[in-house]
Every structure is written in structure tokens, then in C-alpha cells.
Symmetry: C2
Subunit: 487 residues, 2 copies
Amino acid sequence: MRTLVLFLSLLAAAQAAVNSPAGGTAGRPNIVFIISDDHGTDALGCYGNPVIKTPALDALAADGTRFTHAFGTTASCSPSRSVILSGLHNHRNGMYGLEHQVHHFQSFGDVKGLPVLLEAAGYRTARIGKFHVAPESVYRFQTVLSGGAANDPASLGRSPVEMADRTREFLSARDERPFFLFYATDDPHRANEVLPSGKPTFDTYPRPNRFGNRDAGYPGVTPVTYRPQDVIVPPFLPDTPECRAELAEYYQSVSRLDQGVGRLVQLLKEAGQYERTLIVYISDNGVAFPGAKTTVYDPGLRLPCIVKAPGRKQPGTVQPAMISWTDLTPTLLDFAGALPAAATFHGRSFRGGIDGGGLTGWDEVYASHTLHEVTMYYPMRSIRTRQHKLIVNLASGLAYPFALDLKQSPTWIGVQKAGGAIYGKRPIAQFIHRPQFELYDLTTDPDEVRNLADDPQHQALKQTLITRLRAFQERTLDPWIHKWDYE
Amino acid sequence: MRTLVLFLSLLAAAQAAVNSPAGGTAGRPNIVFIISDDHGTDALGCYGNPVIKTPALDALAADGTRFTHAFGTTASCSPSRSVILSGLHNHRNGMYGLEHQVHHFQSFGDVKGLPVLLEAAGYRTARIGKFHVAPESVYRFQTVLSGGAANDPASLGRSPVEMADRTREFLSARDERPFFLFYATDDPHRANEVLPSGKPTFDTYPRPNRFGNRDAGYPGVTPVTYRPQDVIVPPFLPDTPECRAELAEYYQSVSRLDQGVGRLVQLLKEAGQYERTLIVYISDNGVAFPGAKTTVYDPGLRLPCIVKAPGRKQPGTVQPAMISWTDLTPTLLDFAGALPAAATFHGRSFRGGIDGGGLTGWDEVYASHTLHEVTMYYPMRSIRTRQHKLIVNLASGLAYPFALDLKQSPTWIGVQKAGGAIYGKRPIAQFIHRPQFELYDLTTDPDEVRNLADDPQHQALKQTLITRLRAFQERTLDPWIHKWDYE
């Protein structure tokens, strides 16, 4: 009889294991990694914008930790995603520029991406929406719920609620293993329109770019629209009718992706997985306007980062440590109990700071940008502390190159047509023709317009920052380091 | 009885087919494609150098056709090889720069390379020696007789007679199909030396770079050495002791590769294949000195091209048509009877000119160079006619970047140490800081030192050449064409 009871108990346990909802084994959390496209901190309720409606992201922040000083390392989609998914600066992982079409960059074959490492640690992995990195072998997910080319209006990445719905089966599968879901929206990227000739364009001047908004709407999305007069024009943008109209479209796109996040959280709760799931929300780089995306200025690199960890005690936490996107892969591996003992990443785990404290000395971040489109060679390296930013423009002899979506933006075209000399707070000539060094005091000059690099009072500081930047380049095997000796 | 005779005849025919030496079916020739590394027309007996000893190549020219106006399209190894093996400018095949290590460029996956096309046409294919293109799928050979990394002193590509010997089995295999052999030497490229620290360097100053020569010699090679006082210093190089010593080493390296060619021809003759084999000799780009390699000046792009076709009647032919490396793939496919009817290449077949005539109107070539090393962004486009060359430097705001092997060359270091202002016939300042446009009259200024781009007398010509160059960029889908509108 005892044997029978034991047998039945074992059977029940085995049955329970088979039928148990996903995740939770050995205390390892599920991971839902939400990444949006070109979303700055300028357009998020929980980051201080009182106009935009982002209730789902705000709720996530209220339930988790909001990082106030989180930084991308390059304001370009594919390179930034390669950093996020490898923990290595893109000058070291090989993804020097965009992945798609003629740009054709990809990471070195021996890089091991986050999904590959999590799979090796026993996770089941899936991605949905925008990918934009290569090669597949480096960043391979077991399940591809949707693919889609970059800038393709037909991509599922524009339909965030539908995207969330398509993850339902993956999230609720009866499987022993914890899961890793990579949920990547195309919103709020600028959108192509197709001309009568069949040629795509971002240029809709004088109409604003629609940022993916469309009259037909998207399944499950209740459009949230904004009036141009209500939006908040950040200091780096011109307060023009074109810009306000575009910001209104951008806000609408952000509110749409927010509804996708809301649905995803709802599905996690329905599946009984919300509590045991680590949820991360970030963007690859800042908003798609000249002055943000493809620059190393703060509007391009200072980004939203919301982390809702399982089992936390103090929701609504704010974490002021300076973190960068090189830290994401080590942090997620740390949560998964799979962080290698020997440091192989450029970043480090910020897991210890998830309760708001614990990260003393996290007071500097580095950026490394080389190309966006293949024709846009403009390598920049920078170090940012709490007070200062030093930028080295390695190709300062060139005119600053414009990404196609920015050059064709009605906001930029409007400024050009008006013949103005200032864009936001910055002279256009200064934006296009840059000196080798830029040095800003962010305390007195948060908009980075007063270059102190030639100021006699700042030479000692400049040299100190140069020394630290060069050491960073040495440490991270930056091929461009030899430009210090030539050019 | 008749049936038996017929049966025996068929049997004999089948047997003969099985035992017959390779090639020759349907009149399609075998193809032996010999490509050297950094060999200019300056160092070849049959191209007019009375000092250097290149008996095998001279014999090949005597037995075939020597092209006097053959041009590479980019003076950089991987990009040039990608053009040679695809018939497409590298701005269109995706191989914008070097393939190895951190440079990491490769062609688009949908490009179909020459070996793939010849295999589809029924050829058996093999390569030996330097490859330096990617991905493998685009440029796949059925048989890899040797691989070897770029700049690896241990590569078989430095041992040309040994290389030839290793092709023996492939050349003499009993196989119905014609063959395509790609025989690529590392000679006469500059060679790395390994420092006591284990770090490789090209810098041996004040000793000359050895260009692969070594005291131990190479199997089957009888070293041919030269005295520095005997070499001919071409006008683009400085007549200094360092340069003469390096030219002597370069000559020795060329004479070594010549012996490899000699052995290869000997093996073809022994296998009874010489007569039915198309043999091509070219180099990827000009000699590895500043002023040639990585430039679009003639020393970098005007290259040897010797073609020995089967069944020709007039050996020793000279062909003055202006051909470029985009023409090689269509020409070889034409010889193989496999040239697609619809034009898919940027070049065209020069098969019709193999007897010395037949190529009327072949009076212009184009060059397109974008990067060499990944840090060496310096896009140039040029059109060269019989009399003129127009160069557009798309990044003229940058200092001209030096390839590592050229920057570390004892010849260049010697000039730097001497503090001279002239290198060859060109002011160093002019070599390093280039204007957007360069226009040369090659009739009166073959060394390309008197820039006529701003000369009032030449503005109409300049505009005409610009128009033709832009049309070329349009036609070949050059991503850099938009630089005409910006920068």
C-alpha cells in the first residue's frame, strides 16, 4: 500500500510537471524583452511627458523599476540591436551598420548572441516583429513567430496588438523550460509611403510622415490621436507646424505600441506567468528626427528602460545608475542564472540595482557609432559622465551624413525651405560640419550646443576624458583606434 | 554479327569516353585562371621591363594575346576579386572592402559567381591558393585544393611551384567534363614578419620587406635575385635606397610566381591539355607601394592581362582594346559557351578580340573603389578614356587613408624620415589631401600629377566626363550616387 501511494504520488508529481505552466523551474524567470524602434524618453508618460498616453508602459514602470540614465551605444537600428543582443559594442561584434539591402552588415560568425546563450541555458526562445540583425546563426531564436523586412509597411511589426496575440500559444505552452520572448515593434519608426511610380519614399512634405498610422487602423488597436498644438516640442527640435504635425503622428504611433505592451501583459497575466516573468522595455535609439537618431547626442542615446522583475518588493522604483545597452545581455543572463564567470561582455549585470540602490560607481557610459546606411560613414566615439560628454568625430572632414528617413522628413524639409540657420537650439552649420572634438557640460548645457573643446579652462578635463576614451577603445578592441595616430 | 559489332563499337566508344583525358567535349575549353596578388605591369618582361626575368609569362604572351590596356576596377584585393569573379562592380556585388578579420565584407547572397556559373554549365571546378572573397556559397568551387588566410606566411599561396604540383591530379583526371582551375598566388604581395612579441608587422625598416622571399626558399623554386642598383624605379615611386631594395625583393617574388606559372604550363602540356585550355594571367591590382595599390591611378589599376586561347592562329598578338575586370566573367563564360543571352554583368565578353582586332569602340573603363580595410573609407569613382581620367573623390574631406602594408612599408617610412615633400613625382600633401575632382590628360601627363579639374580650358570636358560617370553609376546601381546631391 505504501508502495502504491508512493507510486501514485510520483505519478501525480510527474503529471504536474508535465502539465505545469511554463517556467519557474529552479527559480529561473521567464523573460519578455520588448524593444521598440526609435522611441526616445521624450514621449513617455512615466518619463515625464504629461500629454502622451502610455498607460501600459506607465503601469509597467509603476510595477517595476524605471532607469533614468539608460543609454544606447549607437543610435542606429541594426548596430544597436547587435549590441543589445551580444553585450559587445558593434565595433567589436562586426555589425558596423545596417543589416538590410545594400548596407548588408552583419556580426562576426563567432559571436554568441543572447538567444543562443539562453537556449544553451535551457530556455525556449521565440521572436516576433522586427529583427534586423544577422547572421541568423549568431542571433538564432528557436521559433520565429513573424519575420518581416525593415521598413516594410506590410510587416506585422506595425500591428502590436496582433503581435501580442500571436505570442499567446508560446507564452502559455505547457513546457518545463522557462521562456525568452523577443517582442520587437516597428513602431514608432517613420514609415515609407509608396509613390504612384511604385517607389517608396519617406517624403510626404507638406503632409507629416504617418509613423505607421493608417486610416484603416490595426486589429485590436484603439487609435489615440493628438493635436499638433498639444504636443511638447523638445529643445532639439524646431517648433514649426511641420514638426508639431509629425510629433502628433509619432505620439499616436507610441500610443499604439503601448497598447501592444498592454495586451502582452494581459496575456502573461491570463497565462499565470506575469509574476514569474522578467519584463524589459527599451528602444533601440532615439526618435527619428535630425538631432536624435544617428547622433551621439542625448536625444539619440538616452533612452527608456523599464524593468519589471519577478518577486520584487518595492514597485515604482527609480534607478539613477548610468547603464548602457552593452549591459542588457549580461543582466538578462544573470537573471537566467547563466552569466559566465569569466567576463566576455563589454557591459555588466545591473541586476543588483533592480531595487533602486546597489549600483554605486555606475557613473559613465560610452558610445561607439560608425555607420548607419553603408554610404553614411561617420565614426564617432564618446564618453558621457554625469556632468560631461566628450565626442570624437573621427571623420570630421566630412559633412555629417543624413539617414534617408531623416533627410526626407517633412520637419527637416520645412526648415530647409524656410532657409533658417537654426535647427532646435543648434546652428545647422554646426550640426553638419563638426569639429574633431566636442565637449559639453551637461549640467549647464543639457542641449549640448556650447562646445567647450577649445576652451582653455577645459583642456585638463578634455585630456582626462580623451585618455579614458582611448582606454575604452583599447579594452574593447576598437579597429578605429589607429585613427589617433593618423588623420 | 552486325549487332555484336555495333555493340562492341558502342562499348569501345563508351570506354574511350570514360578513359579520355579531361575536357574537349562539345569544343568547350578547359580554363586555367591564374591570378597574382599586387603585380603591376611595371614588373613583367613582356610588358617592357628589360631587367626582370619572367620567362614563363613571356612565353604565355608569345603564345597568346597580351592586352596593353587592361584595368582593374578597384585596387584592393577582396573587392577586386569579387569583381573578377562576378562581372559586377563591387558597389553592386556588396564586397565593399576586404573580406578577412575585422573588415568582414562579403558579397550579397544572391550574386552568382563565375565558378558557380561554370559548374552549372558542366565544368568541374577547383581552386588553389588565395581566395579572399565571401560568402563561400557565392564563389563556391567544387574542390578546394588549398585554402589559407590572407597575409598568412604559412599559406601555400607563397609556394607557387608546389601549388602547381598539387593541381596535377585535378588537371589530369579522367573526366568527361572540361575543368576550371583558379590558381591564385600570394606572390608578389608584401609579407608580414612576426615580431618577438608575436605580433605581425609589415615594418622591417631599414631592411626591405621581403615580399615573401625567404632564405630557406620554396620547393621547386630556383631563386632569382636582383641587385637594387639594377631595378627600374617607375615614375610613381621615389628613387631611394629603401625603394630600390624593396623593388629587388618584389622582382624576386615575381620571378618566383613566374616559375609557378611555368610549372603549371608544363603540367598542362604533360597532361595533353595545353592546346585545349584557355589560360588567363592577371593580377588583382597594382604593386603594394603607396601611389599604386588602393589608388585609382594607373599604377594601381593598369594591369597585366595575358590570354592564351585554344586554337588561335596568330600567337604573340597584342590587343589594345580597353578592357576591365568586369569583362572577365562574361568573357570566360563566353569561351565556355555559357554566356547568358540577357546581359546580367557590368562588363562584356572580349572573346571576339582575342586575335588582336575586333574590339572597336572599347575606349573607356570605369573604376569604383570604396574601402580597403574597414577603417579606410575613401570612395572614389573614375572614368578613364584613352586620353583622360576623371576621378571623383567622394570623401575628399578626409585624409587619404593608408593601408597597413603601405603605411608600414620601408619605402614610405624612408621618405617620411627624410622629410621630403615629394613622393615619386607627386607632392605628398597632394597625395594625402585630395580635391573632389581630379582630371588628368594622360597624353601629356601620364603620371597624373597635373590636375586640370579647375582649369578653365577643361570645364566642358570635365562636365562631359562627369555626365558619363554619373550615367555609369545610375546604370550599375551605385549606392553612392546620392552623394552628388549631398556632400
